[in-house]
């Protein structure tokens, strides 16, 4: 068969041979280019998938130890004294009031829950407060640790009155579901 095709090819005119060869080489080049690009994309995607699967396997294999770790962390807390979002806001507002803070604002609480455990986060701001009052609030808040914790804190001097301060707290509380 090949010899028949070879004889047919060699019997063609030179321009026909050039055309046939050019077409064959052109098709091969275009196909190679397309195939190489798609193979490259596939290899990239396969590598990402392999990495994702590997990461997922790692997380799934660590699941028992993570659950044990969460249980262990929660065991240090008294479920009765943990606070949900409403109680957290009420508790912080009460402490602020007891410390003499007047100008306070709080943002909407955010919750992260895994079913049995939840962490509630609250942005709490105080404005135009003197250092002593702020310190009283801070110390009163610290006494509720570890049921209430400060995760982030910023403070700045009031531009109009340098003796007054404004502060922002990111306050968190843990809630353990009571069965």
């Amino acid at each position: 068969m090949i010899r028949s095709l070879r004889a047919f090819f060699l019997a063609c005119h030179l321009r026909e041979k050039l055309l046939l060869t050019g077409l064959a080489v052109g098709v091969a080049a275009i196909w190679l280019s397309s195939l190489a690009a798609r193979t490259g994309r596939f290899v990239h995607s396969a590598r990402i998938t392999a990495a994702t699967l590997s990461e997922q396997r790692l997380w799934l294999s660590r699941r028992p130890s993570i659950e044990a770790s969460a249980q262990s962390a929660a065991s240090r807390l008294d479920a009765v004294r943990t606070l949900d979002t409403t109680r957290l806001l009420a508790e912080v507002a009460a402490i602020a009031g007891e410390s003499g803070l007047r100008s306070t604002t709080s943002g909407e609480a955010r919750d992260v829950s895994s079913g049995q455990f939840s962490v509630h986060t609250l942005q709490f701001s105080v404005a135009k407060v003197d250092w002593g009052t702020l310190k009283d609030f801070y110390l009163a808040l610290s006494k509720r640790s570890p049921y209430i914790g400060i995760e982030q804190f910023s403070i700045q001097v009031d531009r109009a009155n340098p003796s007054l301060l404004s502060a922002n707290f990111q306050i968190s509380s843990v809630e353990i579901a009571r069965n």
Binding site: M1, I2, R3, S4, R6, F8, F9, L10, A11, L18, T21, A24, V25, V27, A28, W31, L35, R38, T39, F42, A46, T49, T52, E55, Q56, W59, L60, R62, R63, I66, E67, S69, A70, A73, A74, R76, L77, V112, S114, F117, S118, V119, K135, Y138, L139, S142, S145, P146, G149, I150, E151, Q152, F153, S154, I155, Q156, V157, P162, S172, V174
Partner: protein, 383 residues
Amino acid sequence: MCASPLAFLRAGPPPPRVVILPDAVFFSRSIEVPPAATEAEVVSQVGLALEALSPFPLAHLYYGYYRPPGAGRALAFASYRRRFTAEQVAHWANAEHVMPAFAAILACGAGPATTVVLAAAEGLTAVHWDRDPVPSAVLFHPLLPDAKDEERAQARDALIKAAGEAKSVIDAPSPPVAQPGGGEGEVVFRAGGLTSGLSRDAVAAIDIRDKADLAALARARRRDLLLWRGATGAVAACALFAVAELALVGAGLWQSARNTKVAAQKPTVAHVMDEKELADRIDDLSTKRLLPLEMLSIVSPETAEPKSPPSIQFLRATTSALNTIQIEAQTNNAGEIAGYKSALEQAPACERVEIRDQRTHDNLVTFTLIVTFRPGALMPASS
């Protein structure tokens, strides 16, 4: 090409295009050559012999020769150029080989003392082998187209007798015809029951055309072969790509299955990650307290040991990690910054102190102080 491509492919390659010339217009002679002579030496001796035999110079002749490798003899044959018309010569350009009829059967494998009688319309040709694979004599006897059988028989007998003592005589009643399907390295002719397989090299030497034209044809053939190899290489590559496409489709199915697995596991993994984050946060809340006011107390210019001048004022402070505080401060005495920094570096609770972004405006220098405390060095204030 045939009507059916399959029939075309099954039919095999066509016979090579060979122009068989009448023996009547050729004269031939056997020339002794050293068996070890190279091809170039044989060509030279053939040329000299033909010039000696012919009344015409070599340039006025179409000539060729037959000499298998290692043979001690070469059969040279030639024809005066003017015996061929311009139309005939033009027709040769499309042919792969051009040769006299008797040259086609020279490789018929005849034994010693054998005479082959080739019949053609214009006469009979006797080719006689005495001992060598190269014939010792080639004789032609012209006959009229309407010659009777008796005349033909007489001519045959006369030719056999003139050719030399023959133990066997083989008759080839039809002129030689190139056969299809010859191997890559040879051209096969058949004349009656005779089969002659001439090697490509032998056919090239037998070809009577101008040697320059033959060289050009050889170059064109090499170019055509290169084109053929290029085309077949490209087609083979395409076949390989088709296989690769199939592999890619298969790999795509495998990848799709893996993606499905990733998607199926994603919610579970996200849940585990959330659990891990929660566990870490619960653990941090229970064991790692952020102590911002304690940090401020340690780095305050009024409390830092050794005491620093109180010209440095804090404007803003932010905790950026559990043990790190970033403070924007200002002073009207830039010289105090270095002293303050070294005082902090000497404090046992401080692990690293950095001063960044120093700027001056209206005699006030502002800067950013980043202090990292040693883990466990901060103690919660009691009151």
